[in-house]
Each structure stands twice: as structure tokens, then as C-alpha cells.
């Protein structure tokens, strides 16, 4: 028990003194997961809106693919991204295996279906005649898309946060494609696993606290957003 207590004390010490290694790991996590989330934002919102508003043959199948993608196990993504980025693999010439860029790619693959799926639901949940009303106001197609996305901005924001929450806490893919290299591709989650394995509980707890704080902040914002209603 005092082991855990010791761990917490050391953690506070590390955090307050802004230990450079811990700080570096945190910033890298934010940078990597933030970038991946941004990519998933562009890809996800555009594709989710497109599928929501168009009727095409095979639509049901695409929707089920998206829903499956939302629950895609991150380690599976990690494995396949690794295979693609191997030196002797199809994209080996890019030489991005074991770099933060590879983690960004893997995390973007994980987050995009999440953002797409929630966007799809959010747009479909808008009043069905809203699209007609916007067209009736004389909007061009692009104006209409922009207005619909703006109307759904709150759930879309929640989608982006769900994507971010999913990837900042992800560890399997990050280890596989990133390599957990000190000072280079080591992020909060991979560092926590490693420090735990080494028995450095104090550092592991410090990293966990940071991760929890980030998760809490995301959840808090999400809750605030969900409390709002839509107009009639």
C-alpha cells in the first residue's frame, strides 16, 4: 500500500517540477494524437456527411462498414500499418516506421471511423426537412452542406473529442508502429506500459495521472456539450 502512496508522492513531485522527460512525453502525446484527430476530423466529417445525405446502391453495406470500423481493435490497425510501413513492405520507401508520423497515421486510421460514424448519426438526426428548408432559402449545395454541418456542430464536436479520447489512450498500435523510442516516439501510454514493466511505479503513476487528467477534461467538455438542446 505504501508503495502506491510513494508512487503518488513521486508523481506529484515529477509533475510540479515539470520533469523534462515527462513533459516531453506529454507534449509528444498531445502533438501526435492532436494531429491524428485533426486528420480524422477532415476525413470523418466529410465522408460522414456525404454518406448521410446521399442515397446510393450499397449504402447499407457502407454504413455497416463504418459502424464496424468504429469498434476496430487498435492493435489490429497497428499490425496492418506496421506491415504496410515495413522497409520491405509497399510503403517502406517512405521510411516512416518507428517514427511519430507512423503513430499519427495509425491513430488517424483508428479515429476516422469513429468521427465518420458519429457524424453520420448526427447529420441523420437533424430534422429531415431542415435540408429542404435550407434549399428553400436559396442555398447552393455547398452552402447547404456548410449550414448542415454548422447545425450539427455540437455532436460533431463530440465526435472529434471521442476520436481524440480514443487515440490518446491507445497503446497497442502506438507501440507497434512507434517503437516507443526514448525522446522520439515515446508517448504517455507506451511510456506507462514500459515504466510499469520496469517497476518504476512512481513515474508510471505520474504518467497515468496526466492521462487521466486529459481524459477527464475531454469528458467534462463532452458533458457540457450534450446538455444543450436543439431549436424547434
Amino acid at each position: 500500500m505504501e508503495l502506491i502512496l510513494q508512487g503518488f508522492l513521486k508523481a506529484i513531485e515529477l509533475l510540479v517540477s515539470l520533469d523534462p522527460e515527462v513533459l516531453g512525453i506529454t507534449l509528444l502525446s498531445l502533438r501526435v494524437s492532436g494531429t491524428a484527430t485533426l486528420i480524422s476530423l477532415f476525413l470523418g466529417i466529410s465522408s460522414g456527411t456525404a454518406v448521410a445525405l446521399t442515397r446510393f446502391p450499397g449504402r447499407k453495406f457502407v454504413v455497416s462498414l463504418i459502424n464496424t470500423g468504429m469498434g476496430l481493435p487498435p492493435v489490429v490497425v497497428g499490425l496492418f500499418v506496421t506491415i504496410f510501413l515495413w522497409r520491405n513492405g509497399p510503403f517502406g520507401f517512405l521510411e516512416i516506421l518507428y517514427t511519430p508520423t507512423a503513430i499519427i497515421i495509425a491513430q488517424a486510421v483508428i479515429a476516422t471511423p469513429i468521427v465518420t460514424g458519429i457524424t453520420l448519426a448526427a447529420i441523420q438526426n437533424l430534422p429531415p426537412n431542415l435540408r429542404l428548408q435550407i434549399l428553400a432559402l436559396g442555398a447552393t449545395r455547398i452552402q447547404m452542406l456548410w449550414l448542415l454541418i454548422r447545425e450539427a456542430r455540437l455532436p460533431l464536436l463530440a465526435a472529434v473529442m471521442a476520436g481524440f479520447g480514443g487515440v490518446i489512450s491507445e497503446v497497442g498500435a502506438s507501440i507497434m508502429v512507434g517503437g516507443n523510442i526514448k525522446g522520439y516516439s515515446r508517448v504517455l501510454t507506451t511510456a506507462t506500459v514500459m515504466e510499469t514493466g520496469r517497476g518504476n511505479f512512481d513515474t508510471a503513476i505520474a504518467l497515468s495521472i496526466i492521462l487521466l487528467l486529459l481524459a477527464y477534461m475531454i469528458n467534462y467538455l463532452l458533458t457540457r456539450i450534450q446538455q444543450r438542446e436543439r431549436p424547434r
Binding site: N129, A136, L137, G138, E151, L154, P231
Partner: protein, 366 residues
């Protein structure tokens, strides 16, 4: 009100849904100025026609012609939509302030901010809600929201204003307030309007012309008076509230456009111009059937007086509906006070009478 060339024409309009034809109208016209109401039972195609005319629903076949120009490609569709406005049953407001909502159409058209605010504030004033300008659209009552939606539609000064059951979701007092404001604004701005509604009172109040829809086709178009009092077939007649439908034959023609009709074993005098021997349908509005317990007054101008037995008395909104058997079925509406003062009960025999002009006769089409 100017009634000249049609502002919008529809030719051979056909709309299909799931392979089934839901709208089939060979010819349709909206004249400039004035209000046209589309009425009909649920599923008759009112909303479908409205959405088709506002170019929001795809035509399977047919064309729309606006101010003489055909609407047949993306650009002409967009141009057309920029000159009309649509108000739906739900206000469908945007998640922003009331003022932003009302200026939304103007913003889409690229009007600069100061101008849009000015116009929007003007129409908020005209709809009686200037104090709501900064309010969030999420915090409005049903009536306030619909006023905002209407203000938003008027703000773009549409050539045609389309309304799809705009008051259906409102409670009576709100409904009342809104319809009178809408009426006023329509007249002030001399806006051509087309309104789909199932409320015949609204249709009568607001419109000059009424089109009755039946299963995707137009059963009758005409002035409000024509449609309401001279329906051309049984469907329209029953829809406009002529509850009593009788079959008979023309027995005799009298002078002055009067006829004697044989209905069952009785004779009814009516006004009309049909040949002797013709099989006919007759309609009487319940409001025009007067009940009394006295013997027929000699000076009554109602030729048609019959004694009948009350089969049923049932509440009908603020009135009571009395079903009678006079040798034929007759329906009458009376007020509560009349019911009480006459002391009517089921099974009682009373006198029912209606004017010859109150009975509407048409040829019976087999």
C-alpha cells in the same frame, strides 16, 4: 389585387414514390397576387404538390414554368429557389439567435451585414417579435418560433411564398394570433402565396382560390365560394363539410331555376339547372339545417320542411351534431343553448328545415 398572367405553371406533373404515382396533375396554375390554398385529406398530395411547386421534390415527369421560363437545369432551379420562400409545419430554425435566423436567407444571397440586419429587424417588427432579436432560437415557444420562420421567409421578399401546414402544430390561441398577422402581412406586401392546409377555416380566411386534392389529382379548383358551396363531386362536397349526401331524381322543373327533386319518398325543392329525369346527388351543410319543435311556420322561407326522428345526438367540437331520419338521412349542427332550449333528446320527433338555396345539386356520375 391583380389577377393576370400566371406566375407559376405546372404541366403534366407526375411524382412517384417507391414506384407508386403520388401526384398526377396535367395542368396547374398559380396566378400572381392572392392566396391559393391546397386542401384535401391526409395523403391526398397537398404537401407533395407544394414541395413540387417549390422545386424541392424531384419530378418524375413534367415541367415547371416560372414567369414564362422553364425550370429545367441546376442554374434555373437555383434562380427559382432564390425567388421563393417556404415555411414548413415545424419552424426549422437554426441554432443561433432569432435575428441571425431571420437574416439567414439574406446572408445566403450575399447581402451585407448592415443591410440584412436592417431588413431582418423590420420584419421582426412586422411579426410583432422585435424584442426576441437576440434570443437564442432554442429558447422560443412554438408560436414565437413559427413567427421567426415566417419573418425569415418574408425577409427575402419572395415572389411566391409557400406554406406547408404552417399552423398545424400550434394551439388555438397561438394559431389565431398568427393567422391574423400572416393575413395582414400578406396583404401589406401583396405577396403571392400558396398554402397547403387541412384546416378549411384557415383556407377560407386566407385564400382567394382553393384547390381540392384527391389521391394525387386536383378534384376542383376555384374561388373559395365556388369550392365551398358548389362542389363538383361527392368527394369535394363531403370534404368541404356538406355532410348530408342524398341521391334523387329531378322530377319537375319550375321557373326561376328551381327544381323539385324526388328523394326517397319525399320531395325537396332546390335551385339548379338540370334536366328532368336526371339522376342527381344533393348536398346540404349541417349548419344550414334548422331544427324546431313547433309546427311549420307559414312565413318561413324554407320550403323544405320535414319531420324526422332524432337518431343520434353527439358532441361535435363546440356544437352538437344531430342525426335525423326524415325518410332520408339528414344531419344538423346546433349549438348547446339551442339543444337545451329545444330540449332535444334521442328518439324525439322534430321538424327540420333548410332553404332551397342551401341544397347543392350535381349530376350523378355513375
Amino acid at each position: 389585387m391583380t389577377m393576370s398572367a400566371p406566375i407559376l405553371q405546372g404541366k403534366r406533373l407526375v411524382v412517384k414514390r417507391g414506384g407508386i404515382t403520388v401526384l398526377d396533375i396535367p395542368d396547374f396554375e398559380i396566378k400572381k397576387g392572392g392566396v391559393l390554398s391546397l386542401i384535401g385529406p391526409n395523403g391526398s398530395g397537398k404537401s407533395t404538390l407544394l414541395l413540387t411547386l417549390s422545386c424541392l421534390l424531384k419530378l418524375y415527369k413534367g415541367t415547371l414554368i416560372f414567369n414564362g421560363r422553364q425550370i429545367n437545369n441546376r442554374q434555373s432551379e437555383l434562380d427559382y429557389r432564390r425567388q421563393i420562400a417556404v415555411v414548413f409545419q415545424d419552424p426549422l430554425l437554426f441554432d443561433t439567435t432569432v435575428l441571425e435566423n431571420v437574416s439567414a436567407g439574406l446572408k445566403i444571397r450575399g447581402v451585407d451585414k448592415r443591410e440584412r440586419t436592417r431588413i431582418a429587424e423590420d420584419y421582426l417588427e412586422r411579426m410583432g417579435i422585435p424584442h426576441l432579436a437576440k434570443r437564442s432560437a432554442c429558447k422560443l415557444s412554438g408560436g414565437e418560433a413559427q413567427r421567426t420562420s415566417i419573418a425569415r421567409a418574408f425577409a427575402i421578399r419572395p415572389a411566391i411564398l409557400f406554406l406547408d401546414e404552417p399552423f398545424s402544430a400550434l394551439d388555438p390561441p397561438t394559431h389565431e394570433g398568427l393567422i391574423s398577422d400572416l393575413n395582414r402581412l400578406l396583404q401589406e406586401t401583396d405577396t403571392t402565396a400558396v398554402m397547403a392546409t387541412h384546416d378549411q377555416m384557415d383556407a377560407l380566411r386566407l385564400s382567394d382560390r382553393i384547390a381540392v386534392l384527391q389521391q394525387g389529382k386536383v378534384a376542383q379548383t376555384g374561388s373559395a365560394d365556388m369550392v365551398m358551396n358548389h362542389p363538383i363531386n361527392e368527394f369535394v362536397a363531403s370534404f368541404v363539410g356538406m355532410d348530408t349526401v342524398l341521391t334523387g331524381t329531378v322530377r319537375e322543373i319550375l321557373e326561376g331555376d328551381r327544381m323539385i327533386l324526388a328523394v326517397g319518398k319525399r320531395e325537396i325543392e332546390a335551385v339548379g339547372d338540370l334536366p328532368k329525369g336526371e339522376d342527381v346527388l344533393c348536398f346540404v351543410r349541417p349548419e344550414n339545417v334548422i331544427l324546431s319543435t313547433d309546427s311549420p311556420a307559414e312565413h318561413s322561407s324554407a320550403r323544405n320542411t320535414f319531420s324526422g326522428r332524432i337518431v343520434r345526438i353527439a358532441p361535435h367540437g363546440l356544437f352538437y351534431r344531430v342525426d335525423l331520419n326524415c325518410g332520408f338521412d339528414l344531419i344538423s349542427y346546433i349549438t348547446r343553448s339551442s339543444l337545451d332550449s329545444l330540449g332535444l333528446r334521442e328518439g324525439q320527433t322534430v321538424k327540420a328545415s333548410f332553404k332551397a338555396t342551401a341544397i347543392h345539386v350535381i349530376k350523378k356520375s355513375s
